[in-house]
Each structure stands twice: as structure tokens, then as C-alpha cells.
Symmetry: C2
Subunit: 106 residues, 2 copies
DNA sequence: ACAATGTTTCTATATTTATGGAAATATAGA
DNA sequence: TCTATATTTCCATAAATATAGAAACATTGT
């Protein structure tokens, strides 16, 4: 993980609509949700939602896959864990404290 | 932790200079470093640095204390842990996975 | 009180980001 | 092929953020 990727990922969730989207996807699980469903739940206009989903995808924090007419978006747990590890890296150089625990990445 | 605070904290580290500052402070430990020292290490002009430190302080991710003429800035480990927990909250509702481990907060 | 050092505020400018309507594109079923 | 549905791209506008020099402010030692 380099600093530019970390900033990109952090920027992608440093915005209220996108953080809501991301957290929703994290909670929903690996299946994910179709874009329209996300927009409906969070009350976000389609074009705005599309913009935000692109930001999240581009940062690598969410994945997408097409299922017939729908595009399913889901959290990228591996990327999320990578980011958390990066933030806490060497955080306890002196005293040693517990490393961060990983969330599901299957 | 509410979403507005989370966005504020994420925004504060979603910027290259500030992420560098934050990570430096996380690695340095609870003692922290005087502003000038940070600026010297990271090659950031005083006024720019001051702006960034204010952002980080305002978000609550770093603390400051005055020691004679110097102002020491240090990572707020409790706030950092709170943010990490917020991001991973309910991340494994279905299957249950390890909760995040805390870093030093003494 | 004065000088030296450390830090912040003021200011202007440049750059990036967010928003959502309208139009375009893609997929699937009749 | 025509139609309905899902999603994205285009576009213009509005708002927020980053940068750093110069000036101001604070603290300490002489």
C-alpha cells in the first residue's frame, strides 16, 4: 500500500453519501446490491449515485459485477483490511500492541 | 460515533500531507512532536503545516499541548480506534469475524 | 524592554469536488 | 424490432479545499 492509494481510498469514503454507501455494502455482505437498490435505500438520484459508485470503485473499495440488467456493487473486504492495516502500521513500535484483525475476505 | 464525525475524521486524513503527518505521529507515539519538527521532517512550509494541523486537530485525530515555546502534536489513539471500529461495524453480521484490535490509548 | 524563535492568522489564487437534469447506452422480455 | 427498465455519461453550476507568502502573535532568554 502506497500513500497515494491510501489517500484515494480515504477520499472515496470521506464524503457522507459515499460513506453511507460503503457502510451499507460492508453490512450487506459479499453478495452486494444492485445500484438502483442502493439509490432507493439511501435516496440518492441515479446520476449522483453513479458518480459516487464510480469513485468507490475507482479507489478499489467496492467491486461490481453485472447480473442481467443489474449491476451489483459489493464491498471489497480485502482492500478495506489493507487500508486499516496501513493506518495502524507501526502504531505501537515502542510497546507493541495487537495487530488489526481481518474481516471476511472470502 | 456519528457519520458526520466519521466523515470529518476521514477527510482530515484523506490528503497526502495530512496522512503523512498523521502516520508520522502515530509512529512517534504519545509524546508527539513540535510543529516545527514535523514541518522540517516532511518539508512543509509553516503556514501550510499549520493549516493541516488545524484540520487534524479539529477532526479530533490529533491532540496538541504547549511546552514552552513549542506546540507538541500527537496522535489521538482513542479517536483512531473509534474510527476503525466505526468502519468495520457490523461488517460480518452474517458470519461473525474478529472485532478490530485496539492500539494504545494510554 | 528587546531580540530571537516558534507558530498562527490573513489573504488571494488555483484546484478539486459535488450535484442532478437531460440525453445516451445497455440488457432483456414480448 | 419495439418497449421497458437499469445504469451511465455529459454538462453546467455551486461549493469546498489546498497552497504559501507576508504579517501578526506568543513565549522565552538577555
Amino acid at each position: 500500500m502506497d500513500i497515494k492509494s491510501a489517500v484515494l481510498q480515504l477520499s472515496s469514503i470521506a464524503q457522507e453519501a459515499r460513506l453511507e454507501i460503503f457502510r451499507l455494502l460492508v453490512q450487506v455482505g459479499t453478495e452486494g446490491l444492485p445500484a438502483g437498490n442502493i439509490g432507493e435505500r439511501l435516496q440518492i438520484p441515479a446520476s449522483t449515485l453513479s458518480f459516487h459508485l464510480k469513485e468507490l470503485s475507482h479507489a478499489g473499495l467496492v467491486n461490481s459485477r453485472q447480473v442481467s440488467r443489474f449491476i451489483y456493487y459489493s464491498a471489497n473486504y480485502e482492500a478495506m483490511n489493507g487500508l486499516l492495516v496501513y493506518l495502524t502500521e507501526n502504531c505501537c513500535a515502542e510497546e507493541g500492541c495487537n495487530p488489526i484483525a481481518a474481516c471476511k475476505t472470502e
